[in-house]
């Protein structure tokens, strides 16, 4: 019941966010309607990063506490984060093509997002290749910590290397910035996507917990 309510809420929020992005927000002067994808693109990136932060904290907690639940949380948040980052990588080119005239460019933020995606694909790949659950949890936790530490370094190196991305529009200098309606729509999208992220991580976490329970039952069945 509670879960149905939560799902309903999340879907409702997403609906409102989509409506606001498509019909409420004003049309951007130079880019036109295609700019509306920004309301999905930018919050997804932030939400994905938050999910990876959750993975990092869970990885640390697993290493020091060795409780299975931190492993479950780590993998759940990493998978959800990867889903969001995939959204970023798909919506990016859709936006870029009409605006910049190319699908992909090796721009700083694009490239570092892509490397981030690769890092967490590797993290999940590693998990599929270790049989013993404790060892899998420990090895992937340490790799997850390494991957997260790598993120700022990747970002810095690529940024020094080249930059073509639109400068941050929210905290940029004078002259940049969004119209107030745009900000409000962006905020709604943020809230909707964060709640979606939390909902998905919780669902995925419960699935992982169930899976572990099945393992225990199977073990007891074999012992009996």
């Amino acid at each position: 019941m509670k879960k149905a309510l939560a799902a309903f809420l999340v879907v409702g929020l997403l609906g409102i966010a989509a409506y606001a992005s498509l019909f409420v927000a004003p049309t951007e002067r130079t880019m036109g309607d295609i700019q509306r994808i920004f309301y999905l693109h930018m919050p997804s990136a932030v939400v994905a990063f938050c999910a990876f932060l959750v993975t990092f904290v869970a990885n640390l907690l697993y290493v020091f506490r060795r409780q299975e639940r931190w492993d479950w949380l780590g993998v759940s948040a990493a998978e959800v984060g990867l889903a969001f980052i995939s959204v970023v990588l798909i919506t990016g080119p859709i936006w870029a093509h009409p605006v910049w005239g190319i699908w992909w460019t090796w721009d700083a933020r694009l490239t570092s997002t892509f490397v981030l995606w690769l890092l967490y694909v590797s993290y999940l790949l590693l998990r599929t290749l270790v049989e013993d659950p404790h060892r899998r949890a420990l090895l992937s936790a340490v790799y997850g910590i390494f991957a997260f530490l790598d993120v700022p370094l990747v970002h810095m190196s690529i940024r020094w290397w080249r930059t073509q991305h639109p400068q941050p529009v929210l905290m940029g200098g004078p002259g940049t910035g969004l119209a107030p309606e745009m900000k409000r729509v962006l905020l709604i999208n943020f809230i909707a996507l964060v709640s979606l992220m939390i909902f998905l991580v919780r669902e995925r976490y419960e699935l992982e917990a169930l899976r572990a329970q099945v393992d225990v039952l199977r073990r007891e069945g074999e012992a009996a």
């Binding site: 013993d132 073990r219 074999e222």
Partner: protein, 233 residues
Amino acid sequence: MTPAVSSLGLRCRNLEKRFGNFVALRRLNLEVHPGEAVALAGHNGSGKTTLLRLAAGLTRPTAGALHIGPGESTAAESRAHIGFVAHQTMLYDELSAEENLFLFANLQSITGAAERVSALLAEVGLAERRTSLVRTFSRGMRQRLTIARALLHGPALLLFDEPGTGLDAPGIIWLAATLARLRDTGCTILMSLHGQAELAAVATRAIRLQAGAVAADSFTGEPIESVLRVTET
């Protein structure tokens, strides 16, 4: 060989170890008293190797505790007093007999390493081959060197996993004599055995493991020979 500093006992309380879905040790309760020479018997997969690796501090228990010595010291903390012989040789094939021993002696900062290494090489009968690479050794010679490595630092607790592996008949007799002498100097010995009556004769106590739990223990009065008898299935 130098006598052991002092004897160390070993206590397992509800010790449990799982590998994935496989339960290697199932709430094992066991006390090995200082100075005992315990022979472990049991089928493959009964938990002998797991118990020895837990006692050596190489593996963490899934649940329960294992303490070494009179206090609450964990196995990892007691490493300096433990001599371990595993299934595998734990030797570098690309190094010579003497280089192998010096490597571990230096790592453990043993004083008088040179004399110690020479004495042990003579003791295990490899003095003449001291500069040969381990790669060129027979399985029996490797096993002798493995035992020498485990005794380098004069440990008080010996954990030997099938120490007779690869040894020929004279080798087994030599090993039995060595173990008996170590036992008499006060070393605590916990060794898994596979047959080999000569080695079993050294034991002052026998324990049979089955599916990760104690199935029989000579401490309760059963004769050692019958505890060690593992019915083949």
